[in-house]
Subunit: 265 residues, 4 copies
Amino acid sequence: MLRVLVNGADGRMGSQVVKAVYEDKELEIVGGVSISNIGRDIGELAGVGVLNIPVRADLGAVLEDIKPDVVVDFTAPKAIFDNAKTCISHGVDIVVGTTGLTEEQRVELGNMAVEHRVSIFIAPNFSIGAVLMMKLSAEVAPYLPDVEIIELHHNNKLDAPSGTAIMTADKIDAARKIAGAQQAQDKTHESLEGARGAKVDDIPIHSVRLPGYVAHQQVLFGGYGELLTIRHDSIDRKSFMPGVILAVKKVSSRPGLTFGLENYL
Amino acid sequence: MLRVLVNGADGRMGSQVVKAVYEDKELEIVGGVSISNIGRDIGELAGVGVLNIPVRADLGAVLEDIKPDVVVDFTAPKAIFDNAKTCISHGVDIVVGTTGLTEEQRVELGNMAVEHRVSIFIAPNFSIGAVLMMKLSAEVAPYLPDVEIIELHHNNKLDAPSGTAIMTADKIDAARKIAGAQQAQDKTHESLEGARGAKVDDIPIHSVRLPGYVAHQQVLFGGYGELLTIRHDSIDRKSFMPGVILAVKKVSSRPGLTFGLENYL
Amino acid sequence: MLRVLVNGADGRMGSQVVKAVYEDKELEIVGGVSISNIGRDIGELAGVGVLNIPVRADLGAVLEDIKPDVVVDFTAPKAIFDNAKTCISHGVDIVVGTTGLTEEQRVELGNMAVEHRVSIFIAPNFSIGAVLMMKLSAEVAPYLPDVEIIELHHNNKLDAPSGTAIMTADKIDAARKIAGAQQAQDKTHESLEGARGAKVDDIPIHSVRLPGYVAHQQVLFGGYGELLTIRHDSIDRKSFMPGVILAVKKVSSRPGLTFGLENYL
Amino acid sequence: MLRVLVNGADGRMGSQVVKAVYEDKELEIVGGVSISNIGRDIGELAGVGVLNIPVRADLGAVLEDIKPDVVVDFTAPKAIFDNAKTCISHGVDIVVGTTGLTEEQRVELGNMAVEHRVSIFIAPNFSIGAVLMMKLSAEVAPYLPDVEIIELHHNNKLDAPSGTAIMTADKIDAARKIAGAQQAQDKTHESLEGARGAKVDDIPIHSVRLPGYVAHQQVLFGGYGELLTIRHDSIDRKSFMPGVILAVKKVSSRPGLTFGLENYL
């Protein structure tokens, strides 16, 4: 059984990780760290009953005491770089759920991890479905290079297009370029501006913003008399948990830094 | 049995009308007129076998001979105005499938029809499904005023957005204005231009153009924790025939000019 | 402003009604009744802050004190019949959200309401989207009588098909029968039993049960070279609130008993 | 340039292959064989204009004369076995589009092909989109083992479920078994028989048969708060051509017998 410590154990995501680790038969929850709720039981905070594991404040000290196999970190952008260094220097594998590391910081952590023979995993998206959608889309692109993306979110999402849509377009375009696939020429004239969407790598992205949606994306591939469509619907934040658990189980298999859940699929 | 004459009987649409009238139990095909294929059998041209009805050239003369109940006209934009006047002056109801009449010409034909106690029907779209989609959308709008439209066509359609999408948006907006329904404010920022589509009456329209599609449209209504979507798929030009047949059967019920298949639904 | 009292004000649905009434500009929340949480503030229970309206226990006494215009009742199946009679005898309109009344009880309440010149409203489904889906489906049926239903729910829903799917099929079949519309003959042979779904009024219903879904339904109409599809997605229980508010505002417009939200659309 | 001969060149599929080969820049159409239309020009039959290539009757003689690189065979089930042997014994690669070979015959042809250092390719489905749908579904299955299939066809398709749906279920189940993935228990009770579809490898398949559909399939994967859906729409028989062309180009790369287009993707 892998022994797991959660950093940020009392947070919105962290407490869900505590719960998910607790409920997994191959994992054991052994510790929780945070800057708040010190002394409170992490099981109670996660709603799974008393685990007799109090929240503690000092990550380094806890690592020395408990010696977990893996740390899952869902803390804050400004804390994550130091947290990761602490884990690596203690020889503990780490799964980073917090975003905000710069390219430079990632390189530094990667080098440090190699040096200490430790594994560090970072992901921009822990939804297995979303990561699969991107992976499958890149596989289809060489055969059906004509593609458009529709992403649909609630009307409180302020930006458009979504980061996932842009990332999907990038992966599709890279794949069809490597394969040398030729898309059809777009001869359409917009009689009203914006009708044909935003273009990322020449791939139109259409952003719908309506109450009632959560987070959804369709990738539409058009072919000769046929269509192939890949659709992902995310209804709930809990959809990230299976990806976190997968990363916890796989992290030790790839020493050094690994970026993106697709490396484990 | 209604006795039907087809003007433009040897054309792409006209020969389908001959076939559809021939196959309908409540209708009888009694004549065909055209400027080409004079003397050829309209049944043979339509692929339903010999009907012993030769194509004739002079609409007025044929009307006097045959005295049909209804004329269906799928000829050419420049011919349709005179054709319609000929039918009306002979006291014969007419279903106009040809587009291209001006507002002024429609008014003149309407007045003339009232005077002669004749019915004339004109439709921009004979697909029952498309007309229902627009009608239903207008019904939903007062209750779910937050709406976007996605229309998807083959990549040889040169304009975007489609006429049907614009017409749908107009009908939705009229309906929600009459009801005094308030849509949510759109606070989204486009980080890439075009992501939020083209706006018609403040309704975003997204136009997809890909090989493999024929003619499709989705109307997406977003509500409080729920979504209502109306989708129309047109796979084949033959989808217009049921609408033509419906118009033939209903035209006499509304003297004067009627515009739009929705009046018969 | 309509003055509204909520019976069951501290319950899961009732407290959402308190919130929804409180947030509506045309309504005023004036009282709350329950058998639990007596004395606690209904605003605090609903998470909208102190309203200085304590939960009280005796519906009849509260009605005499407060004289609300409308009572919304989300209590329990066995309480609802007596609650409704109490409201009617006090001359107060009532919106019933609790299911469980028998046909007989509904008739009795209807007669009593007519006698007291009071309005009572009962609905099996308060989702405006779901009710619209059924209404629109019945409108389409005369023109496109060939139809199938796919309903998709989470895998914890134990019964199949859903009540909404059955109700939709009933309404579609009634509408196409009245119109005398003929559906195509189903000549398909099931090489594996169940492939063609369950049949309600000769309409196939297909029930999908998978984790990730909440409550969704598609009504598929097939025509000559075209398809019309109506889809409803319910993501959240809060989707019932707009329907409740609509009923509160409309209830007085139809004296006696009204059954089904479609009567207000 | 690969030199291609079409057997069954005057048939519905064969003449489309002539056209597709003729229009491909990397392929040259060099001959046509059939038992009918002898002496007529294969280009004229395919609607691409005169190619000065007459239909000939004797496959063996033509192979010796013309020495093509690849033969594409769209003839008849009872002819295909002998045709394939003729090609192999002449040392010519063959792409078989005709179905109807038994397992035994395939083994015999495979052995013969190895002996003669020739490649033979056989596919149950030449639609690249359909083959990708099955391939992607098998990739998703280990991560999201809870799955259902909806296939939708025109109402003239007499069997249900479709062969493609059954094949998809088989591939999904094999993939999730290899991965040891556990699906959720299905606890649903059918109050009406058939609601939960037909079961293939414990995967529910729902078959819709309605006018307006051509050939469509959705594979629905349900996860923890998320859904992944793969959809294939085939609108036209011409959708098989890109798969045939792909096979023609790739056939020589795999000596012996190859079964299924997925081997080239």
